[in-house]
């Protein structure tokens, strides 16, 4: 078992020479691709640093002549939402308060679901799972009113925990599928060996499955942090103004129907809102390692 703790990163033949044909092709392709992905971000950043007169001139690719950080300041702390002129900062902590428990609860439930479905299949499990997958395809909008009734009957309408429950429910199909399929692709011998050693449901989950599945937990986290942090509809329908998430302000800044559109502030607000998931992507990337090390299977 010595290798179990030895996580390896990527594989493939080790790079030999820096300018081998293979490397030129590889990095060349990646850089080209990266350009396609970065271009819109470039436009956003450049726009967010321009004043409105400069934007009206119309060249979206031109770097700013007069760099101004005013749009950023405005987006964060001055833009008005109706009568409250304190920008995105108003909803930031609400968003944190909504996202943290929602992400944890939804991933916990779904990973246990996936584990039970993959390794402890019971009668009827397939039926529930199929319904769940079907649920992934239901447009959220049509579930709005039935959910209101459900939350009302449970007495948690308008509360933070009601919203956490809604996020857990709507995240469940994809996440459960994600975990179930990942766990089924793990070598069965691992599970069998642990069973022989007398480990139970939770024992195997925490000691074997969890440590071996870091990449898939990262994917689940990416999915949930992004989805919940960027959610507007549920946040606004199932809570009250005092716990409205940041996206309500973002929507108010970006989506005001009338008046002059301040594109620079819109862009700054969007990048600011996107920063949190972005940081999560980058930081959690360290966990993106090979889960099963050689030798682990044979014990």
């Amino acid at each position: 078992m010595t290798d179990v703790t030895h996580f390896e990163g990527a594989h493939g033949p080790k790079p030999r020479r820096v300018f081998s044909r293979r490397n030129i092709f590889l990095y060349g392709t990646l850089i080209m691709v990266a350009l396609y992905y970065v271009l819109p971000l470039y436009v956003m950043i450049v726009t967010s640093l321009k004043g409105m007169p400069e934007i009206r001139m119309g060249n979206i690719f031109a770097p700013p002549v007069d760099i101004t950080f005013e749009p950023w300041v405005k987006a964060w702390s001055q833009a008005c939402t109706g009568l409250n002129c304190d920008g995105l900062s108003r909803g930031f902590w609400n968003s944190v308060q909504i996202t943290v428990p929602s992400v944890i609860v939804s991933i916990l439930i779904a990973s246990v679901n996936g584990y039970a479905l993959a390794n402890w299949r019971f009668k009827g499990a397939d039926v529930f799972f199929t319904i769940l997958i079907f649920g992934a395809f239901i447009p959220y909008q049509i579930m709005l009113y039935p959910m209101v009734i459900l939350l009302r009957e449970m007495g948690i309408y308008g509360t933070l925990w009601g919203l956490v429950m809604v996020h857990s429910i709507f995240g469940m199909p994809i996440l459960t599928l994600l975990f179930r399929n990942y766990f089924t692709s793990l070598p069965e011998e691992l599970f069998k060996a642990a069973r022989v050693d007398g480990a139970g449901f939770w024992g195997i989950y925490f000691q074997i499955m969890l440590p071996m599945s870091l990449p898939i937990f990262v994917v689940a986290m990416i999915l949930q942090v992004t989805g919940i942090w960027n959610d507007f509809l549920f946040g606004v329908v199932y809570t009250k103004p005092d716990i409205y998430p940041m996206t309500v302000q973002l929507n108010n800044i970006v989506n005001s129907v009338q008046g002059v559109k301040e594109y620079n502030v819109n862009m700054a607000a969007t990048i600011l809102t996107g920063l949190v998931p972005l940081v999560i992507y980058f930081v959690s990337g360290r966990l993106f390692v090979r889960g099963i090390a050689a030798g682990a299977v044979k014990g």
């Binding site: 008005c80 939402t81 109706g82 009568l83 409250n84 909008q141 709005l144 009113y145 209101v148 009734i149 939350l151 009302r152 309408y157 308008g158 509809l233 606004v236 329908v237 199932y238 009250k240 103004p241 309500v248 929507n251 108010n252 800044i253 970006v254 989506n255 005001s256 129907v257 009338q258 008046g259 002059v260 559109k261």
Partner: protein
Amino acid sequence: MKSIATLLAATALTATSAQAVDLEVTHWWTSGGEAAAVAEFAKAFTERTDHTWVDGAIAGSGGTARPIMISRITGGDPMGATQFNHGRQAEELVEAGLMLDLTDVAEAEGWTDIVFPSSLLDSCTIDGRIYCVPVNIHSWQWIWLSNDAFAKIDTPVPTNWDEFVAAGPKLREAGIVPLAMGNQAWQTAGAFDVLSIAIAGVDAWRKVVVEKDGAAAAGAEYAKVFKAAADARALRAGSNVQDWNLATNMVITGKAGGQIMGDWAQGEFAVAEKVAGTDYTCLPGLGVNEVISTGGDAFYFPKNGDPAVEAAQKELASVMLSKEVQVAFNLKKGSLPVRGDVDLSTANDCMQKGLAILAKGNILPSGDQSLSPDTQGQIEDLMTEFWANDSITAEDAQERYADIIANAD
């Protein structure tokens, strides 16, 4: 003072009618001028009563606000007040008994006498009871012309639609888009409505939109309307913008000759520091039929079991309709007040034109008040197709239009 009042509201459980309340108000007025207008309401409410205005602004108009409203009300946790377009949109909520009856306030203050034109109050009235407070009048029937654009082609600024159409080719030659129009459905459908009132006349329009007479919609008067719409479609070619304010901006900068748009467009001219009469010209009713529709915004008050909240809701209703608040609010909003007995001498050239038409009584109910949102949606679908696709002839479009009207509910 206020914090003590709030504290009282929070601690006291037994309700008395004089109690201070935090009243949450939902609305979708989030742009600069709009927010300033709402602030007038909030200020007046907080100053004149013991209660507090809790602002629940959500950008994005009805499509966003409606699910929120319905959810909050059916979830048993309604807001104190909510903005809505008056007319048929909230009908069902009233019928389901979810809205507060304001009749007693209305009678005590004599709303039937002060609200002008009275059609505004009619659309708040269901079975003789009053359920909403109209707060302003917005009218669609305007065309905004760029004086610069017409100076460039050495043509006097048109005074009516026909002159405008005649100037089209010359504008085009000078590299100016004759008619600016955003691509969104409500804009094209709205422009069509304006054309139909101006060209078919009020009587034909009333037959179609109010009485839902399919034969009239298929008739000769409306054939002229569809022909004019086809003209307008040709004039707008080259106006590749989505938002209405970007279209307005084309007029402001002289890149376009004109735009058919409601009176909220004035706000854009004001922000750009343009002066009515010298920089731009406005023609109500396209200069053909000087009639304006009386759409606008209203506030509804969802029913709340708490008598203290109910009392506060009624106080807010009365504040919104009071003279000073009407003036302060509407000057900021750029709309017309809902009562005729206030002084608006500070209003600009175009607003004065609107006020004069109102005073003459040349008004009609807006489509909001007579067609259901569903029918309007069908018309919007048709209009989006028609305006975007030159291969749909005026005759085809008219036939489909008549069909929708004949089947309207």
